[in-house]
């Protein structure tokens, strides 16, 4: 039986859908409703690269985690490209919040446990102010507001476990700030 998972990938500001389907060793990917293609992928050259064949052509794609939550830095053919990726649930959550990922949204960097919320919805925060504490790998990490603004949503509760890319605190940036 195929296990399917849908992702939303932002490339140069355009959002694309990708469905990753797996069955045993086999993996197929469909991009933007195009027919699914067998991925025939394997990490090469140091483990953070994927080789994908489209028909007969081979594309070597190097990936590493980028700065903000969900960002993935990509190099293809010597050209650097920054992308954002999120799973379907998160994409929908963000859509319903009406907020673009990365702007005022603080996302989990690594899997962990929310140990303390330092702000509540409606509160004004300044850029650099600590807003949430996440424990991961036995270390407590204070995450700070990337922008000054108003906290409009905290989709997690104290004690919740979170995964990389999960939105933690959504801040509406101050106009002009």
């Amino acid at each position: 039986m195929w296990m399917k998972k849908r992702y939303v990938v932002d490339l140069d500001g355009d959002q694309h859908n990708a469905v990753v389907a797996r069955r045993g060793e086999a993996t197929e990917i469909a991009v933007d409703e195009s027919p699914a293609r067998p991925a025939n992928h394997r990490p090469v050259l140091g483990g953070r690269a994927l080789s994908l064949r489209y028909g007969r052509r081979l594309h070597l794609i190097h990936l590493s985690e980028g700065g903000a939550g969900g960002a993935v830095d990509v190099t293809v053919g010597g050209r650097p490209v920054t992308t954002m990726v999120m799973d379907e649930l998160r994409a929908q959550a963000l859509e319903s919040l009406g907020t673009a990922a990365g702007s005022g949204t603080i996302c989990a960097d690594i899997p962990g446990l929310v140990v303390e919320l330092k702000v509540e919805p409606g509160q004004k925060v300044h850029q650099g102010e600590p807003v949430i504490v996440v424990e991961a790998m036995k270390m407590q990490n204070e995450l700070c507001a990337a922008v000054s603004g108003t906290v409009i949503e905290i989709p997690v509760a104290s004690g919740a476990s979170v995964n990389p890319g999960d939105p933690l605190v959504v801040i509406e940036p101050e106009p002009g700030g």
Partner: protein, 505 residues
């Protein structure tokens, strides 16, 4: 008086310190690194046999403090100091202090550096030695009327140049007599403020020049040889970014003349060690002495690639008193070499420097490839120093093969972290003026459009990227059990752990 060194201090950082340490190790000589506080975990420190901290991050309080460097050499028992390039490499008083401390300075005599460090005194010395210099004055000019008279004599446009200037600073083009008075006043003001010396001289401005330089080696006792030319006309902000050897602009006859002129230049100052004589080549085939760099040059690897020499070793041997290790008649140029300087800078934004952690790096290997590097995965590029990270050097049997190889390795090279200029090099290798060798020092300003230079992704590449990113995300989340994805997850955990521990983000 041959004295074999057993330990040498390297008074530099980054890729050049690493290059020198590697050369010393091959000669069986122990190395001592010096470093500032922020460079505690820099590659040259990790590679050297010993390391000495010499001060805080700003170069003026660490790498430029001669006394601390000399003290570090004495404390560790090093017999000699190799200065690399930049920092203390062309500082006459420093090299004198090194010798007064009973140590050997691996480079030319202090007097040579002082003559060549002052453009006017270098001009006078070269004219006396019969080396062609750009038509102009040999004396400082203060009076606009005198300057105008001189300019009328040599013909416009002319260049006003600060005698103590360098690196493209303290220069101004004057295209007609009416501009002279204002231009002279401003250039003198800038030179006084930047170099503490407002001596200005006038020379003919050569339009559309090429930058050709010749590597020389001298034993300090009158014997000088050349190791052929390099062309360094691909420049941005008056700094070189791509260099090649041989030069595509020289005929065999011109090559012989320009290399002879370089030997003549070095002989005139009884040159000791490795040095570079820079010339400008005018479109009519005339060439003129520009300046002499009395040190190892950034782009020395292209010379090593086409001649099979080791210039660091040659410098050390001369400093030990062993004399020159090559004979002129044994040196030939074989094949072609290109060097691409890898800078942490954004070509699309005026080549402004960038900083950050090297998150991921994949170095291309294969035939004819050399990488001189000062970075590694996890290294934080500091803001205090030159943003050059590494030099990617290729060799091919001819220029076409070297270019093809350059494209191959630039496409295989992956660097995530700071914004960098690898895509700029790929751009350059597609430009007609580079491919046919006609490029001049104005190449980048003429051909590079910061708004339109990165080739667009094809639809297929876009699809492949989207698929790869989704796949990456799914493996990073699922932690499933195929061996490959286990490896990938381990990699992510490691990266995340480092990030958490250092409190970065």
């Amino acid at each position: 008086m041959a004295q074999k060194f057993s330990k040498v201090l390297v008074a530099n950082r980054g890729e050049i310190a690493v290059r020198i340490i590697q050369g010393l190790r091959e000669m069986g000589i122990a190395s001592v690194a010096v470093h500032s506080d922020v460079d505690r975990t820099a590659l040259h420190v990790l590679m050297a046999d010993e390391a000495v901290a010499i001060g805080p991050a700003p170069a003026a309080e660490s790498y430029l403090v001669g006394e601390r460097v000399i003290e570090a050499a004495k404390t560790t028992g090093a017999e000699a100091i190799h200065p690399g390039y930049g920092f203390l490499s062309e500082n006459g008083p420093f090299s004198r202090a090194v010798e007064e401390a009973g140590l050997v300075f691996i480079g030319p005599k202090a007097e040579t550096m002082e003559v060549m460090g002052d453009k006017l005194s270098a001009r006078r010395r070269m004219r006396a030695a019969g080396v062609p210099v750009v038509p102009g004055t040999d004396e400082a000019v203060r009076d606009p009327e005198v300057a105008t008279e001189i300019a009328d004599g040599i013909g416009y446009p002319v260049l006003l140049k600060a005698s103590a200037g360098g690196g493209g600073k303290g220069m101004r083009i004057v295209r007609e007599a009416g501009e002279m008075a204002g231009a002279l006043r401003r250039t003198m003001g800038e030179a006084g403020a930047s170099f503490g010396d407002d001596s200005i001289f006038v020379e003919k401005y050569v339009e559309n020049p090429k930058h050709i330089e010749v590597q020389v080696l001298g034993d300090g006792k009158g014997e000088v040889i050349h190791v052929f030319e390099r062309e360094c006309s691909v420049q941005r902000r008056h700094q070189k970014v791509i260099e090649e050897s041989p030069s595509p602009s020289l005929t065999p006859a011109l090559r012989e003349r320009i290399c002879d002129a370089a030997v003549q230049t070095a002989k005139a100052v009884d040159y000791r060690g490795a040095g570079t004589v820079e010339f400008i080549l005018a479109p009519d085939g005339e060439f003129y002495f520009l300046e002499m760099n009395t040190r190892l040059q950034v782009e020395h690897p292209v010379t090593e690639m086409v001649t099979g020499t080791d210039l660091v070793r040659a410098m050390v041997l001369v400093a030990q008193g062993d004399g020159l290790c090559y004979r002129q008649e044994d040196l030939v140029q074989r094949g072609w070499s290109l060097e691409f300087r890898l800078y942490a800078e954004d070509p699309g934004k005026g080549f402004t420097p960038s900083i950050g952690r090297i998150e991921s790096m994949t170095v291309p290997l294969g035939p004819g490839v050399r990488l001189d590097t000062g970075i590694y995965e996890g290294f934080d590029v500091p803001i205090h120093y030159d943003p050059m990270l590494a030099k990617l050097v290729v060799w091919g049997e001819d220029r076409d093969q070297a270019i093809a190889r350059g494209k191959r390795v630039l496409r295989e090279f992956v660097l995530h972290g700071p914004v960098h200029n690898l895509p700029f090099h790929l751009w350059a290798l597609d430009q007609p003026a580079f491919l046919d060798g006609s490029y001049t020092t104005h190449f980048v300003e003429e051909a590079f459009d910061p708004a339109d230079w990165l080739p667009a992704l094809t639809d297929e590449e876009r699809q492949a990227i989207i698929a790869a990113v989704a796949l990456y995300e799914s493996e990073r989340r699922s932690g499933d059990s195929t061996p490959e994805s286990t490896d990938a997850s381990v990699g992510n955990w490691r990266l995340n752990a480092l990030r958490a521990m250092t409190g970065n983000r």
